[in-house]
């Protein structure tokens, strides 16, 4: 049994403590916005926030979030986070879209610590996340737009 807070809701989950948080979120809790990409922390599709920081949920055993705050794409709510999601639509970032939850979670992390990132700041921060469709230019633009709006 693991107990933690997800998207502001306290929950208990019956799962082996070694279970990657990814599968708990996606298949136990049915919050399928968080995606499985590689399972080894290489692509970033699985990114969630744990106590506010972007984290590879595929590499995080559920036991490691005991008592912590987990936020998924479905739980983004701050002004900055919503500005980011709106910018993602305005700049029409997604193509296939599969990596974009992870990209947004990663970008939200950046804006929290660096509300006015330079282009280079954005590129350096976002290198953890792969987009196979090649939406990188629009990811940069969307983060810049969101930063301007907040």
């Amino acid at each position: 049994m693991a107990s933690f807070t997800i998207n502001d809701e306290k929950i208990e989950v019956k799962a082996n403590p070694n279970t990657p948080l990814l599968w708990v979120v996606r298949e136990h809790l049915k919050l399928t916005g968080t995606k499985f990409g590689c399972g080894v922390g290489q692509c970033g599709a699985c990114m969630v926030h744990v106590d506010g920081s972007s984290t590879y949920s595929c590499m995080t055993p559920v036991s490691a979030v005991e008592g912590k705050q987990v936020t998924t794409i479905e739980g983004l709510s701050s002004q900055a986070e919503q500005a980011l999601q709106k910018a993602w639509v305005s700049e029409e970032v997604p193509q296939c879209g599969y990596c974009q939850s992870g990209q947004i979670m990663r970008a939200a992390d950046l804006l929290k610590t660096n509300p006015n990132p330079s282009r280079q700041d954005i590129i350096t921060h976002m290198r953890t996340n792969i987009c196979r469709c090649g939406t990188y230019n629009r990811i940069i633009k969307a983060i810049q737009r969101a930063a301007e709006e907040i």
């Binding site: 995606k35 080894v40 290489q42 479905e74 639509v89 193509q95 879209g97 599969y98 090649g134």
Partner: protein, 754 residues
């Protein structure tokens, strides 16, 4: 925006009739979300009194409801290319519909009425298959006709009702308006007036809107799938959730063609949450209550595999050397019809003053689509019916192959087409192994089951762009003019593995393997391109750009070699060759202007390449690179690309596709490499199959020419310029010609050493 029930409540009778579909509602804020519907919900609505929710379908493509909502069917699949918005938008344009009240349904049935009309008729009738960048091009006239026809039907109905002539009426934003009085009826209101007649009005093309009358086309309308992809609500195949569902994972043979001989599953059965373990012809399946149980169980299996597969001896360099020997041996043929034959090359080569030759070698490439292969299936107790939830590029082939697997008829397969987390050809094969996994396991355990491949399985069991060796030769006359061009492509037949039914109808003409080997933009009197069908040494597939990423690497590198051999400027050389092809000439000239081709630049060099795609579309690309001659590392600083793809229905989306093609192509050209040793794939995940990340991307400058020709494909356009443009730039920088793709540092160093 996040309330999925809003969309769930929009289930219509049409969806019930079709079994299943995904509905996307376009609202004031764009799409509200997406969800798969099931027939139970629809049945409830069907029992409502008909008058309360009357709807009419003037044709198979559009349904108008009394509440003014309009449903438009989308016969393609959506993998990020935007067709799910573009095609319905074309219909809505001619219908003069209010886009805010349109919802889009993905067609989930295998019905020729929805088939791709210009291309995919391999089975005697058109099938639903989204590939080759032919969706908009193929359906553009169909959508226009369907929209215009529905509009005419509505006008006729109102004219009769009001006793006026159609010429006194106009339409605007889902309303029919009497011009003189301003009296109006909404399309929804008209559903109460009229039933669809036996024969629908025909519409002449001259009655279509002209481009200056377009309200939506040529503008940037938000794609219907984008909001859901920005808030996590978009539903991909892997997101399917079915009541009572269990999970499964399959341990596959390390080498294709091997079978499990002996299975020790004691440890696996002991894993908490493992329900069952079964042997399949090609592997061992672990069924469990959770994904993690199936993965842990699979890791605990001990399996002895057979060791008799002929693929055991497959080794990359050995295979490639053999392909190369066949390519260079002009007496060797595999009796395929010539891919391209213009004039007669033989006399030209006999009479040549000079013959230039070169060999180009390319490694296999992996799709690296972000969504690993997966499928969910629920097979009936008798084993002869099934529902499947799958990200597929082809409704038709998914249904047909599922029916094959269950030895049943296609009407007993219900498909739920899901959004696609990356296609690029990976989800277009006939017999999808991941769907077979789900079907076979669900049938055995009598439960719905979701199968998810790990990334490692996705790589190890990947289907790849094939290995290829190509022999290029050109005949030159005494003035240095190219009189003949010959491209011999030694590579396996992709179709004979990837899509066997199509191969059987192809007469050994493989449009996937040979795509891009034709030379159509240059004025060369004698041209031959031919396919030497090699034994495959891995599983093979169509890959983004299909064959063109390797065939164009060869022919556009070779054109560059010919230019340098003549001491000509490589861009001007191409422009001269394209003198009788205005589109090709124009993209070359424009990309040259954008890149300031003639401007000297410190420490950097340019290379150019031209590539058409799918017939009508053409692209030219220029790479600006620097090369570290100590390490062999190529840095691409800038990439310019200009395309001509006819009228731009969705300009912003066209630019997105162009940028994506540049990144996908450069990623492959610089880094991506699948290698095979003793029949096994050496790579396993993104650490050893690296794709381009955001910090490796050059500055990308794209331009789509504006014109009024019929729209043609952009989803793969220009990708094939990248390999040759970079290799040509490397030559310009260093004088070293790299003829192997990818252009890895070791190959650059080897070329530098000569």
């Amino acid at each position: 925006m996040k309330n999925k029930s809003l969309v769930g409540s929009s289930t219509t009778r049409r969806e019930f009739l079709q079994g299943a579909s995904i509905t996307f509602m376009v609202g004031a804020t764009g799409i509200i979300g997406a969800c798969s519907t099931n027939s139970d919900n629809a049945l409830t609505e069907l029992q409502l009194p008909a008058a309360a929710n009357k709807e009419i379908s003037p044709n198979a493509w559009v349904t108008i409801s009394a509440d003014d909502s309009i449903t438009i069917m989308f016969a393609g699949t959506e993998m990020g290319q935007g067709s799910m918005t573009t095609l319905p938008l074309v219909l809505a344009e001619e219908l003069d519909a209010d886009w805010e009240n349109v919802q889009v349904d993905i067609v989930s049935v295998h019905d020729p009425i929805y088939g791709n009309p210009i291309r995919y008729t391999y089975y005697g009738f058109p099938i639903l298959y989204t590939a080759g960048s032919r969706t908009l091009e193929a359906y553009y006239p169909v959508m226009r006709q369907a929209g215009a026809q529905a509009r005419k039907f509505l006008l006729d109905a109102v004219a009769v009702e009001w006793g006026v002539s159609v010429s006194t009426l106009k339409t605007e934003l889902s309303q029919v308006i009497h011009i003189e009085s301003g009296r109006a009826l909404s399309y929804g209101q008209i559903t109460a007036l009229a039933d669809v007649p036996e024969s629908l009005p025909s519409v002449d093309e001259s009655e279509y809107k002209s481009q200056d009358q377009f309200r939506y086309l040529g503008k940037d309308i938000t794609r219907v799938d984008v909001p859901g992809k920005s808030d996590g609500s978009a539903q991909f195949g892997i997101d399917a959730q079915v009541p009572g569902m269990v999970y499964a994972s399959v341990l596959r043979a390390p080498v294709e063609g091997e079978n499990p001989l002996n299975v020790n599953d004691d440890m696996a059965r002991a894993v908490d949450g493992v329900i069952d373990i079964m042997t399949l012809p090609y592997g061992v399946a672990v069924v469990g209550e959770s994904v993690e149980a199936t993965f842990s169980g699979k890791n605990a299996l001990e399996v002895t595999w057979s060791t008799t597969s002929p693929f055991r001896t497959a080794n990359q360099n050995q295979s490639l050397d053999a392909y190369e020997a066949h390519a260079k041996d002009l007496t060797f043929s595999t009796n395929s019809p010539l891919w391209q034959n213009v004039g007669d090359i033989e006399p030209a080569f006999s009479a040549a003053d000079n013959v230039i030759e070169a060999v180009y070698r390319t490694d296999p490439a992996y799709h690296a689509q972000m969504e690993p292969m997966n499928a969910t299936a629920n097979v009936s107790d008798d084993g002869k019916s099934a529902e499947i939830w799958v990200s597929t590029q082809t409704q038709s082939l998914s249904i047909m192959s599922a029916a094959d697997t269950l030895e049943t008829s296609i009407d007993r397969i219900t498909l739920h087409p899901m959004l696609i987390g990356g296609g690029y050809g990976r989800r277009g094969e006939y017999q999808a192994k991941y769907v077979d996994d789900a079907l076979l396991i669900s049938r055995a355990i009598n439960k719905p089951v979701k199968v998810i491949w790990s990334r490692e399985e996705d790589v190890k069991d990947g289907i790849f762009r094939p290995l290829a060796a190509q022999f290029m030769r050109a005949a030159l006359d005494s003035e240095g003019k190219i009189t003949a061009l010959h491209q011999r492509v030694a590579t396996p037949s992709v179709l004979s593995y990837y899509n066997v039914p199509r191969w059987e109808l192809s007469e050994r003409r493989d449009g996937i393997s040979m795509n891009g080997a034709q030379t159509t933009r240059y004025d060369i009197p004698h041209i031959r391109a031919e396919h030497l069908i090699m034994d495959r040494h891995s599983r093979v597939a169509a890959w983004r750009g299909v064959g063109s990423s390797y065939t164009r690497f060869a022919n556009e590198s070779f054109i560059d070699e010919l230019a340098h051999q003549q001491g000509a400027d490589p861009l001007q050389f191409r422009i001269d060759l394209a003198r009788n092809n205005p589109d090709g000439k124009e993209v070359l000239e424009e990309v040259g202007r954008m890149a300031e081709w003639s401007r000297p630049r410190e420490g950097r060099s340019l290379g150019v390449a031209l590539s058409d795609y799918g017939g009508a579309s053409v692209a030219a690309g220029i790479a600006e690179v620097s090369v570290n001659e100590q390490t062999g590392h190529i840095q691409v600083h800038n990439y310019w690309m200009v395309i001509d793809a006819g009228f731009l229905v969705a300009p912003r989306n066209v630019n997105a596709q162009m940028e994506g093609n540049v990144i996908f192509g450069l990623s492959n050209a610089l880094k991506e490499q699948i290698t095979i040793s003793d029949g096994m794939v050496d790579q396993s995940n993104f650490h050893d199959y690296q794709v381009m990340r955001i910090d490796e991307m050059p500055d990308i400058h794209v331009k789509a020419l504006i014109n009024t020709k019929s729209p043609s494909g952009v989803g793969e356009l220009g990708l094939a310029t990248t390999g040759a443009a970079v290799a040509n730039a490397v030559f310009a920088a260093t004088g070293a010609r790299v003829r192997e793709l990818p252009l890895t540092p070791d190959r650059v160093l080897a070329a530098l050493l000569g």
